[in-house]
């Protein structure tokens, strides 16, 4: 049972009439003269504060003109303020055959039985588990999780081939960096930045181009290779300089 508020005597500041009110009262009307008055006991900041939480926003870059705008995190679509282009922000999953081009600012998943049959799909993030006949452009990353194949190549920021996954590409792959922990088979793969091959990673290619390469023990590469873009040097582990013996022929 809830406790009842105590009653207190209050006097009307206009006519002096006393009446009983709840001890928590904030304001009332004098039952004698009808004057409205506030409680002297009520705290000045007694008004209930309504907490207004700001709408969380995120940065959105127009796929066409590159203009940047802020949109609500939960927004599903927007229009570019510069060029007026419609921007689809949500995620899309392709489980069967998909014909036609796609431009997404969100994540595109091509499922194990999915096939992207358009000429080009562009998304911030692409998870590839199935096939793509068209070209894939992954602004942030392309992650290969299943037994995947590409007919027209792909480009983007990061290429990840997960452990146990494989990617076969008939056309060129162009990425800024790569992390290969599964199997990659392709013609040419170009990485303008670092390429890392994990202990279970394998690359079989006609040519791979990179600015730096790390192959961990267990990782495999069979390819022609070329370093093309120079960057800042980093310190490599030292092999101690020890005594040597030279014999000459």
């Amino acid at each position: 049972m809830s406790e009842l508020a105590q009653k207190i005597d209050v006097s009307c500041p206009e006519c002096g009439q006393t009446q009983r009110e709840s001890e928590n009262f904030i304001s009332t009307v004098c039952r004698s003269c009808g004057a409205y008055f506030k409680s002297s006991h009520a705290p000045m900041n007694a008004r209930k504060k309504v907490k207004r939480t700001g709408i969380k926003k995120r940065e959105l870059v127009c796929a066409d003109c590159g203009a940047v705008q802020m949109v609500a995190e939960e927004a599903q679509s927007s229009s570019c303020l510069e060029c007026g282009r419609h921007l689809e922000l949500g995620h899309r999953v392709i489980e069967g055959e998909h014909l036609g081009n796609l431009v997404l600012e969100g994540e595109l998943t091509i499922g194990p039985k999915g096939n992207f049959g358009g000429s080009k799909a562009r998304a911030a993030k692409i998870v590839l588990q199935g096939r793509a006949s068209g070209f894939l452009e992954a602004v942030e990353w392309l992650r290969v999780e299943g037994q995947a194949s590409l007919r027209s190549g792909a480009s983007g920021e990061i290429l990840e081939v997960r452990p146990g996954a494989s990617l076969e590409s008939r056309d060129t792959l162009l990425f800024r960096s790569g992390q290969i922990d599964g199997e990659l088979r392709c013609g040419t793969a170009q990485f303008s930045g670092p390429l890392k091959v994990g202990p279970a990673g394998k690359i079989i290619a006609e040519q791979i181009v990179f600015s730096e390469l790390t192959v961990e023990e267990g990782g495999r590469i069979q390819s022609q290779g070329e370093v093309r873009i120079a960057a800042e040097p980093v310190v490599a582990p030292e092999i101690p300089e020890t005594k040597g013996e030279i014999t000459s022929t």
């Binding site: 022609q224 370093v227 040097p233 092999i239 013996e245 030279i246």
Partner: protein, 117 residues
């Protein structure tokens, strides 16, 4: 033809410091070592090998762990780890169990990594 003649320690120290030293023929290192000379031939090491930045080797280089800072023309084969340091130059081939090519290194050729060597 291999003479098997051991080099006097003083001479060896000079050759390891090796500015201006040129060796015509193949070189074999029985232990870990550093090559600073210009070698017109192959270099074979039984242990760890450092090809210093002033070294230029026209032939192939083989060893266990190899750190390349200089120049090798005819390929490099490491039975362990291979490092290509910035400013190093390697042509023809690179075979190793594990490999690190730093930014700034210059490599062009065949890559065979992780295969039985």
């Amino acid at each position: 033809m291999e003479t098997g003649k051991k080099i006097n320690p003083k001479v060896r120290a000079a050759s390891l410091a090796g500015h201006g030293l040129q060796i015509f023929g193949d070189v074999r290192l029985e232990q870990d070592g550093v090559i600073r000379a210009k070698v017109k031939g192959n270099v074979q090491a039984s242990g760890k090998l450092v090809v210093a930045k002033e070294a230029e080797i026209s032939g192939a280089v083989s060893g266990v762990d190899i750190r390349l800072e200089g120049k090798v023309d005819a390929g490099l084969q490491g039975r362990g780890r291979v490092w290509l340091i910035a400013q190093s130059v390697l042509r023809t081939r690179c075979a190793a169990k594990a490999l690190r090519i730093e930014p700034g290194a210059d490599f062009r050729g065949e890559l065979r990594i992780g295969e039985s060597l």
